[in-house]
Subunit: 409 residues, 2 copies
């Protein structure tokens, strides 16, 4: 059999990001409220200024700033009040030198005024007489027309993931519907003669199809539309047929292998048979998850995951987001973490990277990480774990009380 | 008017967590694949052992361990092969001393065997003769029946948020449907005479209803079912009626105030009128977001948010998760962050906490944070920001190159 090189996790990520074309731009127009976590298919350009008018950021008096220069507690400026502008009022009022108008926070600044004095620095001494105790600079306490967004600005670039704040900016511009890319489609296949549907009764020797469920949940969660192609035994022809069908209908295919060497061979042979030289890597030098495969078939990513459920899920948490970024052409996002102190030593010197699932507790304000021990096939490990530590290849284990970065599952 | 005390952000969070009863346990049974991010309404107890049988974690030979003691390259143990167990095969085969059976990874260990020797440490010398070059300890390379989960174990405690790994553990136990709590319902109200629906044309003096959209998106995103109660002008009676309706239909109500002092007064007066002594706090000592209100009416949280869209969204990102935890009785989750170097000085000495929105870029492997400057009413700030820094009250600004924790929006 042909040998393929084993890559590091960061090499695997680079290969996935570089090897596939972006998904064809099939777009749909949807209401902005339904667009959360979708991807903008076009630059969103503002057709107007925000705010639409010079707006006060305080409750107070609109003034001509140079009327207030030199004003102090001892020598206040004396201005003539010529009325007020109500909240939401569209006003044509104008002030001249030595005049003022009351404006609430958010209210429109009258013509002629270039500055707002907060009400705290004023006093009303008689009908129509306002004392100002403080100099107010030009532009002070005013948001200028177009200061937030200028007409013609690209407010949301194409390929941006839409968050609540992007929905806010579209609402502020009166945009009710937005063009988004369709969700990428993921096909899921479980392989192995030992895998049975989850509603099967107790049968020694058999293992329920956990991977179809964890992979579906994970991929749905990060924004894929998921189709399940069921459980395929170690039957080469059936696997060829199923992978071809999934590739026709989906943008990416995720196959979790049975855990036997036999099964792994079948997956890789089948992928090579479907398209010669399609294998980009076979093996990531990481524990757990070494048997991970990536192939490029018909320009689409086919990911072969380990059969052990916990290993398959841990690897796919790292890989699936990269596949999604590649398909949608999204910019890199940064993965956040928690700084924790190790509660015990963790020995390791296996010369490859390692994903260590950990529990996290907060004790007297300090986060404490404790490895969840167990073999990589144990799904209960991941249920007990809050997150994981990525141990680099050249690091020989972790010491008790050492500070580590813990990434959330 | 009655005065209410201003609280710190952590005091505000404590008050919300302590003041409200959990939502009544209305539950629904749903397929596990649809249960992602929902809350378990009951302990999930395993009705069987996982794995269901002693299982091999390697490809190799099942042995009686003490037959291999003392085995080495020079003096291998010689065993008689009496067959193999296929992947997924349910076997009653048994081995006696000096016998062995081939078992693939994931396969069932035959009776009589207590250890697996990896195939790499064996050699087949003739039909039925296997050399073993290494001693194998009892239990080596075997996952014991029940090692992952024991019958009767609580595998997922009540009130747990369901992640892909919880779906995996349910699948592994053959559980197809799960009892979950219903989603909490949030009612959203926008107030202010200046607020108009987003499809309104250009009108100086008016501001589009951004907050209904950002709050809907945010609350939907974290797992609320959202109902919008529209825009209420500064009309006390209408506001009383709308809040009462929202409280009847929802578990929590979020009101974003118009930004004028007048409007803020109306919201707080109306809340006091609906239920006397209902205000838990009026004001969080944080910039932006000082005018935030929390009331307890009919045992339900009513949150009054600032009118400025960016301030309202920033505060609600912090508050809405706490309200959700309180309603569902969820355990605390830990907020992850990114360690960044400041690219510039950020002066601040205003004696209260401050939320600083920042852009994040990665330069030569180092994350760099740059404050996004602008007034709190500017929604474009949040669209440009990747996350925020929470500056404590006693910290007098930040220095260029200082390392800070940046939380993702």
């Amino acid at each position: 059999m042909k040998m393929f090189s084993v890559v590091s996790l960061s090499e695997a990520i680079d290969i996935i990001l570089k090897s596939f074309p972006k998904m064809a731009d099939v777009v749909e127009e949807i209401p902005i409220l339904n667009s959360l976590d979708r991807t903008c298919a076009d630059d969103i350009i503002s057709k107007e200024d925000v705010p639409l008018f010079n707006r006060s950021t305080v409750d107070g008096y609109a003034v001509v700033s140079n009327d207030t220069f030199g004003a102090s507690e001892a020598f206040p400026a004396i201005l003539t009040s010529i009325g007020e502008i109500g909240m939401g009022e569209v006003s044509n009022k104008e002030i001249l030198n030595n005049e003022t108008i009351y404006v609430p926070t958010g209210g429109q600044i009258p013509k002629g005024s270039d500055s707002m004095v907060m009400i705290e620095y004023t006093d009303k001494i008689a009908a129509g007489e306002i004392l100002v105790f403080k100099a107010s600079a030009p532009g002070e306490n005013i948001t200028l027309k177009g200061e937030d967004v200028k007409m013609g600005d690209i407010v949301i670039p194409k390929d941006t993931k839409i968050r609540p704040q992007e929905i806010g900016i579209m609402a502020s511009l009166g945009i009710e519907n937005v063009l988004v890319k369709r969700k990428p489609k993921a096909g899921i296949i479980s392989t192995g003669d030992e895998i049975v549907p989850i509603n099967n009764p107790y049968m020694p020797g058999k293992v329920r199809d956990i991977n179809s469920y964890t992979n579906s949940a994970l991929l749905t969660n990060i924004g894929f539309e998921v189709s399940q192609y069921g459980i395929i035994g170690d039957d080469k022809n059936k696997l060829v047929k199923t992978i071809n069908l999934a590739l026709d209908e989906c943008d990416a295919v995720f196959i979790s292998g049975g855990s036997s060497v036999g099964t792994k061979d079948i997956t890789i042979c089948v992928l090579e048979e479907i398209e010669h030289d399609s294998i980009l890597f076979h093996g990531i030098a990481i524990k757990p998850g070494k048997p991970t495969i990536c192939a490029n078939i018909k320009g689409k990513p086919v990911i072969g995951l380990p059969g052990h459920p916990a290993a398959a899920l841990m690897i796919n948490i790292l890989i699936s987001n990269v596949v999604k970024r590649s398909l949608l052409g999204l910019n890199q996002d940064f993965q956040t973490f928690l700084l924790c102190e190790m509660t015990e030593n963790y020995p390791s010197n296996n010369g490859r990277e390692e994903l260590i699932p950990v529990k996290v507790e907060q004790v007297a304000g300090i986060f404490k990480a404790t490895p969840v021990h167990g073999k990589s096939g144990l799904i209960s490990i991941l249920s007990h774990a809050w997150g994981y530590i990525l141990l680099s290849r050249d690091k020989e284990g972790l010491q008790k009380n050492e500070v580590v970065s813990v990434f959330k599952f």
